[in-house]
């Protein structure tokens, strides 16, 4: 431990000196040297802020800064003091995003006031028309007591739809940081927070990961409010609850937990909320990060939360009694809990008619098996169990392998690696030159490698099928997991043949059986076996799905009555439905 700390000490010193290009005589020079003397070991690796030309307003800013705790700090009745606090809290005037507008309320006598907002986050039109205009114009020299002033303004003057009164700076700062405008008035120990959120955001777009052919095609965007609204738009029920939890110590991000109050198992809701609110991380950026913080088993081979970009999918999960978790800034929603089978479902399964839906499910299950096992099976067959290959095919494979100087396993690995490389490069490559990837990949994989005698053509078919099948897996996370596991199975097959694959599958299944997602066994309803609606591997007709998944223990188990097609009651044998 001692060595470790000294190492970091040295490292931090090194970086302090190298990173900060200190101009002699500047304020940074003084500050840094001052700090260095005091506590050199705890120096963080801060990058230098771009030097401001404005001289420092408060000489002893550093000292005061540490003493200012927005959680304890309360709004002062003296406007100047409030201004000072704000200047310290927002490091003004260095911080150019923060706009502090000072003005006079048209009272008798005119009372100074100020409003604070962040440029770009707040909507300026609203501020001009709904805050400044009424406050500066409409008071018309009224006489008002200071105590009533804030209430009067809130109740009579501000036409904004959401105006809060706050006394502590914590609330005020959170409001301002999220696009609201704070109004301070001389003589009032309270401040008004006016909702003026209005930043540039992406419009609601088509889903990019989970496209369907028949069905709605809107996807979440990066604004949590749009996302919750999208869900609400699709689920018109007053019992749909959206709870907001703030997560992150330094960057406080809104996390919305959505569920149906009269349906979802309250213990499940509690569990999700407890996990999220207990987080003590500096910064949760997006839902995928949150997922890693709250999942049950980080080392499990499969994802334990489902992320989707489709509001309609979230709604269908909410209606089953799941909980949806949305993170501000992420165009994805997390669903908890999930089972393995919900990961292999796609909304298209339900939007298509029964036979078609089942057909694509069958295709998908086949794709999962293929992408997981095909290279392994190929290796096992070719190196251990040649008696299982039809003679003609065997001889063709043997003939194609004759010019190849490498063992099969090397061949498979190099090809798999090349494929993964193309795939990864295809994601990272700028869109404009994206086409080249296809050409290069096709040339390397399809043509040159075979002609050069590095790999055999049959192997390319195997690798291509495995790759193709992995794209048919509807869940990106699951597809990733399968791709990775594929390598394991290939290695096992190369060492032990089919025995290795069987052993690998055993371990894989054991791992899955052993996993729980928010208390729900991962392979439910198969392990443990429970009776459920016909929607696990195959899906039955939609009207036959009468029960909600029993493992969720939702408050209302019945999804629809036994006869949900009411018109059937009228029909009698031999008579037409009228």
């Amino acid at each position: 431990m001692k060595d470790k700390s000294s190492f970091w000490k040295r490292l931090s010193q090194v970086f302090t000196f190298q990173d900060l290009k200190i101009e002699k005589g500047s304020i940074y020079d003084q500050q840094e040297s001052m700090e260095e003397k005091k506590i050199p070991a705890q120096m963080t690796l801060k990058k230098p802020v771009r030097a401001s030309k404005t001289p420092l307003v408060l000489a002893d800013q550093k000292k005061q800064d540490s003493s200012l705790d927005p959680q304890k700090l309360r709004v002062s009745s003296c406007l100047e003091k409030n201004k000072g606090y704000l200047q310290q809290l927002y490091v003004l005037p260095k911080n150019k995003d923060i706009i502090v507008r000072e003005f006079y309320l048209d009272l008798d006598p005119p009372t100074p006031a100020l409003l604070v907002f962040i440029d770009g986050l707040a909507e300026k039109e609203t501020i001009n028309n709904a805050i400044l205009k009424p406050l500066m114009v409409f008071l018309r020299g009224k006489k008002l007591e200071n105590d009533d002033l804030i209430t009067y303004i809130q109740e009579h003057l501000l036409p904004g739809h959401e105006v809060e009164v706050a006394e502590d700076y914590q609330t005020i700062l959170e409001g301002i940081n999220y696009g609201d405008t704070a109004v301070f008035v001389e003589g009032c120990a309270k401040a008004l927070i006016v909702e003026t959120k209005g930043w540039e955001k992406r419009a609601i777009d088509k889903p990019e990961i989970e496209e369907v052919i028949l069905g709605p095609n809107e996807a979440f965007n990066e604004t949590i409010r749009s996302n919750t609204a999208l869900i609400r738009k699709n689920l018109r029920n007053e019992k749909l609850i959206t709870e907001m939890i703030k997560v992150g110590a330094r960057n406080r991000i809104d996390v919305a937990v959505m569920y149906l109050d009269d349906l979802t198992n309250p213990q499940l809701v509690e569990l999700v909320k407890k996990r999220i609110s207990s987080l003590n991380a500096d910064y949760i950026s997006v839902s995928s990060v949150l997922e890693q913080f709250i999942e049950d088993n980080p080392f499990c081979l499969c994802p334990q939360l489902l992320s989707t970009e489709r509001p309609d999918r979230v709604v269908s999960f909410l209606m089953e009694g799941h909980v949806a978790v949305l993170v501000d800034g992420a165009p994805l929603s997390l669903i908890a809990p999930v089972t393995f089978f919900s990961l292999i479902h796609s909304p298209e399964d339900y939007y298509l008619r029964l036979p078609y839906g089942n057909f694509i499910r069958f295709l998908r299950i086949l794709a999962i098996l293929i992408t997981l096992l095909i290279p392994g099976i190929y290796v096992a067959l070719v190196t251990f169990h040649q008696e299982m290959i039809p003679t003609e095919l065997l001889l063709a494979i043997a003939a194609s392998r004759v010019p190849v100087p490498f063992p099969t396993i090397f061949e498979v690995f190099s090809m798999e690696f090349a494929f993964e490389l193309i795939r990864e490069a295809g994601v990272r490559i700028p869109g404009i030159i994206g086409n080249t990837i296809g050409i290069v990949g096709a040339l390397i994989l399809g043509q040159a490698a075979v002609e050069a005698g590095i790999v055999s053509p049959i192997l390319i078919i195997v690798v291509a099928i495995a790759g193709l099948a992995s794209f048919a897996v509807p869940n990106f996370s699951l597809s990733f997991s399968l791709r990775q596991r594929r390598f394991m199975f290939t290695i096992l097959a190369a060492i032990f043949g089919f025995f290795g694959i069987a052993g690998g599958l055993f371990v894989y299944l054991t791992n899955l059986v052993n996993t729980k997602s928010f208390g729900v066994p991962y392979l439910a309803p198969y392990s443990p076996q429970v009776k459920t609606s016909p929607d696990v591997f195959w899906r039955g007709p939609l009207w036959s799905m009468e029960k909600r998944p029993p493992y969720l223990k939702s408050q209302d188990q019945q999804r629809q009555p036994n006869i949900s097609r009411g018109w059937l009651k009228k029909v009698r044998r031999g008579k037409k439905d009228e």
Partner: protein, 415 residues
Amino acid sequence: MFRKLRFLLIIAFLLLPLQGCWGMREIDEMGYVLLMGIDKGKENMVKVTFQIALPKPLGEEGSGDEVSTEIVEVEAASLFGAEQLLNTFVSKHITLIHDTTVVVTEEIAREGLAKYINPLVRSREIRRTNYLLVVKGKANDFIEKNRGLVFEKYPSRQLDILMASSHLTGIMYKSDIHMFYRALKSPGRQPVLAAVGISQNVEAKASDESKIEEIKRENAYLPGEIPRKGGNKIDVIGQAVFKEERLVDFLNGEETRFYQMVTGEFRQSIFSFPEPGSAGNFIIVMKIRKACSPDITITADERKTTIKVKLFLNGEIMSIQSGKNYEIGPLGNELERHISGLITAGVSQLIKKTQKEYYSDIFGFGEFTRHFFWTWEEWENYQWLEKYPYCAVEVQTFFRIRDPGMMSQTTSSDN
């Protein structure tokens, strides 16, 4: 605790590949034997002929008559000894896992096949589903003459398809190692194998038989004797009859068909019958199918054991030369009776032949006596195979014309 356990597990897993039990073998390092022939050796016990595949890529264009197999003969004391010797001059690891057929010469079969079957059955590499054929002549001849594979690249596939067509014709037989082994061990049946031969390109010679006999002898050829010209040089027709492990005789195509009718393996075959009352001037061609499995019952008392065979067959008219209306009415019934009579006669004759000439129950009638006994020993002690030649046989044929083909009525203009 868990960390330790996990660590141990990982170590155990990593040790697994080190045990040296590597069964891995690269596909292109192997030499795949597709066909094996067993002959009597001159210097040593056996002369084994191996047909080894030369791998050719699928779909590659090239001259069609390119050789895709290599034929090698080795003399050794045993089959596996020969395989080992083969490794000394073929630069591939010889394996028998893709061997589909074992051809045994008549000579060895007459001597007794049991000692050759033993290694075939015991070996891990040779499947029991391998076809086991008895060649009338030399096995190496058969393999070499078979080289000009007309339709297939490899003999394995060729023989696969040939054997499968036994269901189409009925005059050939499909036999594998397992069937032979099972029959050899059973106290209720004697083995039969498919017979093959090298075509002698027999010229059709004028016979002094009556026309009726000629028609009846349409399929009665032994392997190698089919009068024909061109095509592949091998014949697959007929059966080899064994008594215990020894070859007794060959059955011709006609008899093979009757044999399969009795055992129920028969599916369909095309028969030519002399038309009743036409003195062999007209024939009726009929495709006969199995209607349902034959019903075989055996009744035994102190004096006499009787085998009753009921055959159920359906017919489809393929040709009526005389133009008579056989489809419906009394003429049809007459034809049915006529044909059942011919089939009954043929089957009875064959059974009689196996009883009196071969003393060999190749039909497995003995299996139907099994239910008389409580234990295997009792059944074995019953000594069915010795009793078989003295059994009475009753054959009944139930034949119906079900399908007149695409013509519902024969008209005189069809002459």
